[in-house]
C-alpha cells in the first residue's frame, strides 16, 4: 500500500491538494479575492492550452494571447450589443449593428463562436506554417509578430472594437437580460470548467495523439520514418490548443468584466510562457500552478513594493531559470523520479506497475 502511494505521481498529489484548496478558497477570503482567483483560473486554462502546444508538442508560441483574445472579444462584443447600438459605435457614426455581430447577440452562441473562431484561426495559421517544413524557432517568431499585429489591428478597427479602450461592462453570463451570475457562483463554474479542461488535457496527453505529439517534440524526423504525417498532428494540436485558449478568453472577459488590447498583445503572450516556465512544462500541473503562483505573486508583490515589484519578479524569474530549470513542479517530479530510480528494488517495481495500471485505468482508455 505504501509503495503504491509512493508510485502515484507526485504531481497528482499536488493537483488534488490544489483542487481542495481551490474548492475551499472562497470560504476564507473576501469576495474580490475570489474574483481575482476566477481570473487566475482562466489564466490557468489558458496556460494549459499553451502547455499542450509547447510542453507536449515542443512548439513555443509567443502569440497565444491572440487566440485568447479572440474568445474574449466575442463575449465582450456580445454584451456591448445587448442594449442596441453601443456608444462607441454611435460615436463612430454607425447607425446599426454590423451584420457580422448579429450572431453574437446570444451569450451562449457568442461563447460557442468564441471557441470556434480561435480554433479555426489556429487551424488556418497552422496549415500555412506547418505544411511547409518550418523550424520551431520560426513558429515562435511568426507568432510573436502575430501578437503585435493583432493588437494593432484591434486598435485600428476602433469602429467595431472600441480600439485601445477595449470593451467594458461585460456581464457574468446574464442570459436574456436576466440577472448575471454571482461572483462566487461564477468562481465555482470557472473552477468546474478548469477541472474538466484539466482532465481533458490529461486524457489527451495520454492518448495516441498525445504520444505522437511528444514524439514530435523529441524527434520529428524519426516520426516521419514511421509513416506519420507530423504536420497533421501539429495542426490538430494547435487547433485544440486554440479552442482551449478561446475558451479561457470566453471565461476571462466576464470575470474581469472587461477586455482590452493589453490582454491580447505581446506582453500577455509572453506572460503565459513565463507562468508555464516557472511551473514546469509538459506535466499540466506546472501550467496551472505557475499561472496561479505567478499571478498571486504579482498581485501581492505589487501591493507591497509598488514601484520595484517588476524588478523583483525579473530577478526571481532569472533565478528560477538558473536554479530550477524544470520549473517548480517539474523539479518535484524529477526529484521523485530520481528517488524511485535510486531506491526502489525490483520487488517493488512490480507493485509500481500495478499502481501505474490503476492510474491508467482512471485517466485513459
Amino acid at each position: 500500500m505504501k509503495s503504491k502511494l509512493k508510485d502515484f505521481p507526485v504531481n497528482h498529489y499536488i493537483d488534488i491538494a490544489l483542487l481542495i484548496f481551490l474548492i475551499f478558497f472562497p470560504l476564507f477570503v473576501k469576495t474580490f479575492r475570489v474574483e481575482m482567483m476566477s481570473r487566475y483560473l482562466c489564466f490557468a486554462i489558458f496556460a494549459l492550452s499553451l502547455d499542450l502546444l509547447w510542453g507536449y508538442t515542443g512548439l513555443l508560441s509567443l502569440g497565444h494571447a491572440v487566440l485568447f483574445g479572440m474568445g474574449g472579444y466575442m463575449i465582450g462584443i456580445c454584451y456591448q450589443i445587448q442594449n442596441g447600438l453601443p456608444a462607441f459605435m454611435t460615436r463612430e457614426g454607425l447607425t446599426q449593428i454590423p451584420w457580422f455581430y448579429i450572431p453574437l447577440k446570444n451569450p451562449i452562441a457568442a461563447a460557442a463562436i468564441g471557441i470556434l473562431i480561435p480554433a479555426l484561426f489556429a487551424m488556418l495559421l497552422g496549415f500555412f506554417m506547418f505544411s511547409s517544413k518550418i523550424k520551431g524557432v520560426f513558429f515562435t517568431i511568426i507568432t510573436l509578430a502575430l501578437a503585435q499585429i493583432f493588437s494593432e489591428f484591434i486598435i485600428n478597427v476602433q469602429k467595431y472594437t472600441n480600439g485601445f479602450n477595449g470593451l467594458q461592462g461585460v456581464k457574468r453570463f446574464a442570459i436574456n437580460g436576466g440577472e448575471q451570475l454571482g461572483k462566487v457562483q461564477y468562481y465555482y463554474i470557472v473552477l468546474a470548467i478548469a477541472v474538466l479542461v484539466f482532465i481533458f488535457c490529461l486524457w489527451l496527453s495520454r492518448s495516441r495523439i498525445g504520444k505522437i505529439a511528444t514524439s514530435i517534440r523529441e524527434n520529428e524526423a524519426r516520426l516521419g520514418f514511421f509513416g506519420y504525417q507530423s504536420s497533421h498532428y501539429k495542426i490538430l494540436i494547435y487547433t485544440i490548443s486554440g479552442a482551449l485558449a478561446g475558451l479561457a478568453g470566453v471565461l476571462y472577459t466576464p470575470a474581469t468584466s472587461s477586455i482590452t488590447t493589453q490582454d491580447i498583445g505581446v506582453a500577455a503572450s509572453t506572460a503565459v510562457v513565463v507562468w508555464i516556465a516557472v511551473g514546469g512544462r509538459g506535466n499540466l500541473t506546472g501550467a496551472v500552478f505557475g499561472a496561479l503562483f505567478i499571478n498571486w505573486a504579482q498581485s501581492l508583490l505589487s501591493e507591497h513594493f509598488s514601484s520595484y515589484w517588476q524588478l523583483i519578479l525579473g530577478g526571481v524569474l532569472l533565478a528560477i531559470i538558473f536554479f530550477i530549470p524544470n520549473g517548480i513542479i517539474g523539479q518535484i517530479i524529477e526529484l521523485q523520479r530520481r528517488r524511485t530510480v535510486e531506491g526502489v528494488k525490483i520487488k517493488e517495481q512490480s507493485n509500481a506497475n500495478k499502481g501505474a495500471g490503476l492510474w491508467r485505468q482512471i485517466f485513459s482508455r
Binding site: F21, M36, G84, A87, R91
Partner: protein, 427 residues
Amino acid sequence: MKMKRIIALAASMVLMASLAGCGSTSSASAAKSSGSSDSSSDGDPIKVGVLFSATGSTAINEKTMTNACIMAFDEINAAGGINGRKIEYIHEDYASDPAKCTEKIKKLIEQDEVVATVGCCTSASRQATLTTLKDDDSLLIYPTYTEGEEIHPNVIYVGAMPNQQAVDFIPYLLQNIGKKVFLVGSDYVFPKTCNKEAKALIEQNGGEVVGEEYAPLGQTDFSTICNKIKQSGADLVYSTVVGESNVSFYKDYKQYGLNPETCPICTISIEESVLQAIGTEYSEGNYASMPYFSSLDAPASKEFVDKYNKKFNDGTVVTVLTESAYSSCYLLAEALKKVDDPTDTDALIKAFNGLEFDAPQGKIKVDDYNHCTWVYSRFAKIHDGKFDIIYSSDKAIRPEPWPAVLYPQYKDTNFMPDWDDPICYPQ
C-alpha cells in the same frame, strides 16, 4: 536535497502568501454596509486610494501624478486634515494594464475600504474601473484631460473636456494662422473623438479640413504623414498625437522640411515632460492648448512648481497632469469636509456639485450637475523649450462632455443625456 527545501519553501509560500494577503476576516459582504457608525469617530484616519501606474508604459505620465497626490495629502494632513481626522492614502500600481486596474480598484475599495480613489490616466484604465465603482458604490476622481462623451455617476472628471481645449483655440488659430487645417492623431479613441469636435468647429469658423491621418500608438516614423501634410498645402496641423510619439513627430516634422513658422503644429495633447525630450530646436514655434502650463506666471502656480521640485527630485517635471491630480486631491478634501459621514458615497458625490478650489491654474469649479470641472483655457507658443502663454481665459470655462457643436440636443440638459440613458456610460 537542498533543492527540495527550496521547492517546499516556494510551495508553502504561495499558500501562505495568498491566505495572509487576503486578510483574515471572513465577512464577505462589502465594507460599506458595516462599520459606518464607529468609523465616524474622531481621530481615525480617512482612507483614500491613489491608483496610478508606477510601472509599464504609461508610468512615464503617471509618476508625476502619484507625486502630486502624495504632496497634496501631506499638505492637507499638515494643515489639520479633514475636520480633525487625518487622511491615509494607499497607493496601488496597476502597471499600465486595465485588467490590473480593475483588480486594484477592487482591492482598494473592498479590502482597504477607501472612501474614494484619485486615479487612472488612460481612458482604458478609467473605463475598466466603472463596473466596480457602480457595484461597490464608490467614487473615483479622474484627473486626466479626456475625450468626453462619457459621464459616469461615480466619477468626477477634473481634467479638461475637449471643448475646453478647443473652443477658444480653434477660432484663434483660424484667424491668426490660416484656414486650411490638417488633422493628425494617434490611432485611438481620444484623438478620434476630439477631432470630430475639432472638424465641426473648424467648419463653423470658416476653416477647411484638408486631411486627416492617424498613426499607430507608439509610432516612431512620421515620414509618410509629413509627406501627406506637405502635399495637402495645409496652413496648420491640429495634432492629437499622444505620448512619446510626439518626439518623433516634432523631429520628423522639421527634418522633412516642414516649417513651424509657416505651418505650426497646434496640439491639445502635449506636456512639459515630452517637450524636454523633443528639444528646443524642434519644438520652437509650435502651439499647444491646455488648462495649465507650469510656466504660468501666477503666484499660486510658481509656489506649486517650487514646492514640487523641492519635494521630488526624481527626474519628473510638473505638467498639466500634476496640477490636475493635485487639484483632485484638494477637491476631494473639500468635499470630505462637507459631509458628516465620509463613507456615505451618495452624500460625498453630492458634495462635489458646485465645489470650488483655488488651484494653481486659478479658481476651478466642479459643475453643479454633470460631474465635470470648469477649467481655464490657455494656449501657448513654444519658445526656447518652454510654453510661452499667449492667451488665458478670464475665468474657468464650462465643460461640455457632449460638445454643443456636435450635440445641440443636449444644450439645455447640461450638455449630457439623461443619467439612465445607455449612451451616458458603458453599462
